[in-house]
């Protein structure tokens, strides 16, 4: 089997409309072999719809989705692994039975279980902890040595340790030349990607490194003893305020506006301009279009 040399998945001006609603709007993107690409965006930004079109699960309204050098079809999907958000495992079968089904469908040997989930071999998947279920879904999706792996929110709902393990697996794959596309909400995960794509309201609005995605968006860091009151005051003023631990931050708003709002609320605070985070950039984009 010859490995694809070009992009493992690619969208060329892809759009998807549902009635009058445009879920994905003229998106062009690609994932190269050995690359981990993070697909970011708020809920409803079109990440999953884009991924489903790349997989050929959903027809495009315009543009072309391609995988491994051609339009999505059964032969190409055989060289691709996919972990959907809901994992796609049969919860009423044991882990081994699930892997046997997958292996039988791909015509590959049943994969060996990673140590962390080896103890669940005879456990019904539905009875496994979510972290172990996700690892099992990875194991199933990777069992046929795919050249491209698509992961939709692969680590949601799992603890930090399990998430770190899953990222080890993702990295192993990319080191072996597999192209990985991963949607995520978690900013720490975004930082582990080689390249980021940021979607907002169906459009691809930024791509590149974290700095590229954030662009020149700035944020105000508000330092105050009464963070709860500061948050309430800024939120009441309908500013894009984020609470990060006990630190209050306001995305993309003029320092003076923030100071004035806090002053009106009778709060004393130290306000400082800082580079925005990806999350704040997403918040700004969501507000701009919403």
């Amino acid at each position: 089997m010859s490995r694809a040399t070009g992009p493992v998945v690619e969208a060329r001006g892809v759009s998807r409309r549902f009635g009058t609603f445009t879920a994905v709007d003229d998106v062009t993107m690609h994932v190269e072999p050995g690359e981990v690409v993070g697909l970011l965006g708020a809920n409803g930004a079109g990440k999953t719809t884009l991924m489903r079109m790349l997989l050929g699960l959903l027809p495009t309204s315009a543009g072309a989705a391609r995988m491994l050098g051609g339009p999505p079809n059964r032969a190409r999907r055989k060289r691709l692994g996919y972990v959907p958000q809901n994992l796609g495992l049969y919860t009423d079968m044991t882990l081994t039975e699930n892997l046997e089904f997958v292996a039988g469908s791909y015509g590959t040997p049943v994969p060996a279980l990673p140590d962390e989930i080896a103890g669940y071999a005879r456990t019904l998947v539905g009875a496994m902890p979510l972290g172990a279920q996700r690892q099992a879904a990875f194991c199933a999706a990777l069992s046929h040595a795919p050249e491209a792996v698509l992961l939709d929110e692969p680590t949601s709902g799992v603890d930090a340790l399990a998430r770190a393990r899953l990222w080890d697996t993702i990295r192993e794959q990319s080191d072996a030349g597999v192209g990985v596309l991963v949607t995520t909400h978690y900013m720490q995960e975004a930082q582990q990607c080689d390249r980021l794509l940021l979607m907002s309201h169906g459009r691809l609005v930024a791509q590149g490194s974290e700095a590229d995605v954030v662009g020149d968006t700035r944020a105000c860091a508000v330092r105050t003893d009464d963070w709860a009151a500061a948050f309430s005051a800024l939120n009441a003023a309908r500013l894009p305020v984020i609470l990060d631990g006990r630190a209050v931050r306001v995305a993309d708003v003029d320092l003076d506006d923030v100071r004035a709002t806090l002053a009106r609320a009778g709060l004393e605070a130290d306000v400082e301009a800082v580079p925005a985070t990806i999350e704040e950039r997403m918040l700004v984009l969501a507000r701009a279009a919403g």
């Binding site: 998807r16 409309r17 549902f18 009635g19 009058t20 609603f21 879920a23 809920n43 409803g44 079109g46 990440k47 999953t48 719809t49 489903r52 050929g56 699960l57 959903l58 027809p59 495009t60 309204s61 315009a62 543009g63 339009p71 999505p72 059964r74 999907r77 055989k78 691709l80 996919y82 959907p84 958000q85 809901n86 796609g88 495992l89 049969y90 919860t91 997958v102 469908s105 791909y106 929110e153 949601s156 949607t183 909400h185 978690y186 900013m187 720490q188 800024l234 939120n235 309908r238 500013l239 894009p240 305020v241 984020i242 609470l243 990060d244 631990g245 006990r246 918040l283 969501a286 507000r287």
Partner: protein
């Protein structure tokens, strides 16, 4: 409590299937029991044969609807007419006493005929064929076999398929390198086998417990059952494509099952139904399977005399099974559709191929696809509470 009641009404009004059940079912039952629930057959199809056929035909009571008068035919021809279900009663003239042959496999017609013959006080020999004691179980068991096949085919099969949709594994199957036809055949083969096994058990039990005879060819019976199974499995697959949850599948299957029980002639004789309701019976597959199973088991009818039922079931099987699998295929192989749709950007009709669920147009509000579909798709991201518990996003109005 008022809030609760109002909420319940609102939810009910949004659930078209339940509204259909609430409104349609009482109407259906009213119509069926008003027009169809009649055990008394007041018109029995009758043949009169032998030299005095014409004279006798003129003197028979009204209940006998003489459809065949054949002075040149004898008793053998009369028995063939009964076996082939051409008529329910045959009078054979020519001997010293006229012989009345009654088809006992058509229970209610037979009961009417026997009662009329006895009431007339005429001096004739009466012979009830195929079910001499007019036992209800004998005609019921062959029909119940069909009902069980219908039950497995529609309810169990559709639940089995909808479960994949509910669990999201259908999407995984679509991504796997399995041909859609393999998925469909692989899904329904177990149900086909289970239904066949169930059928054998019920048939044998019926014979053992109720002494139901099996006079005809097992092969003919098996062929009829196999064709019928394709019809009901097709219905099951079809129901699964218009249902998102097992509950919806059961509701839909109920709509299919109830008329079959009441209008297939299994309980109420088709002959006794008002014409306006009877035609529904002739649209139902169980009607034809019952004709085959009763024909083969009780009358020992050969394939040649049951060909109409076989032909109707075959057409139904081809049409329903093809339609259902094509519909099901759409969920598994969307790229086949996309080739044309992708080339031209403007032909994407609202309500068609929605993400994750091709069938929403049939159940919930089909006109608000945009919001609905988006939520069924991307909003599934929603329920991941953000990473750090303490991190809260402010007003994102």
């Amino acid at each position: 409590m008022r809030a609760m009641i109002r909420k319940e009404f609102r939810e009910l009004a949004r659930d078209r299937r339940t509204v259909g059940l609430l409104v349609g079912m009482p109407l259906l039952l009213l119509v069926i029991f008003g027009y169809a629930a009649n055990f008394y057959v007041d018109s029995v199809e009758t043949a009169v044969v032998g030299p005095q056929a014409s004279q006798l035909a003129d003197t028979l009571p009204d209940v006998f609807d003489v459809t065949t008068t054949a002075p040149s035919d004898g008793q053998d021809a009369a028995r063939d007419l009964l076996r082939d279900d051409e008529v329910d009663v045959a009078f054979v003239t020519g001997d010293a006493t006229t012989l009345a042959l009654v088809d006992g496999s058509n229970l209610f017609a037979a009961q009417s005929a026997v009662a009329a013959i006895k009431a007339s006080g005429a001096d004739l020999d009466l012979e009830v064929l195929y079910n001499p004691d007019l036992t209800t179980a004998w005609v019921m068991v062959p029909a119940i076999i069909g009902l069980i096949l219908t039950f497995i085919g529609t309810i169990i099969t559709s639940i089995g398929l909808v479960r994949e949709r509910e669990a999201g594994t259908l999407e995984q199957l679509a991504v796997m390198p399995i041909a859609p036809s393999t998925v469909i055949l692989g899904k329904i083969t177990p149900y086909f086998l289970l239904a066949a096994l169930d059928m054998v058990i019920v048939t044998v039990l019926g014979m053992v417990l109720f002494d139901v005879p099996f006079n005809g060819s097992v092969l003919t019976f098996a062929l009829g059952a196999a064709i019928f199974l394709f019809v009901v499995l097709g219905i099951g697959v079809f129901i699964s494509t218009i249902s998102k949850t097992a509950g919806q599948a059961i509701q839909s299957a109920f709509f299919v099952l109830l008329p079959q029980i009441l209008l297939s002639g299994m309980i109420f004789p088709l002959e006794a139904m008002a014409a306006g309701v009877r035609w529904i019976g002739y649209l139902l597959p169980l009607t034809y399977f019952t004709k085959i199973s009763q024909g083969v088991m009780l009358r020992g009818a050969p394939l040649s005399s049951l060909w109409v039922s076989f032909a109707v079931l075959t057409v139904m099987a081809v049409v329903i099974f093809t339609a259902a699998t094509l519909r099901f295929r759409r969920d598994l192989a969307p790229e086949r559709r996309s080739t044309g749709a992708a080339a031209e950007s403007g032909d994407d009709t609202p309500g068609d191929d929605t993400p994750g669920d091709d069938t929403s147009s049939n159940d919930t509000s089909s006109n608000d696809n945009s919001s609905n579909d988006n939520s069924s798709n991307d909003n599934s991201n929603d329920d991941n509470p953000n990473d750090d518990a303490a991190r809260t996003t402010g007003d994102v109005a």
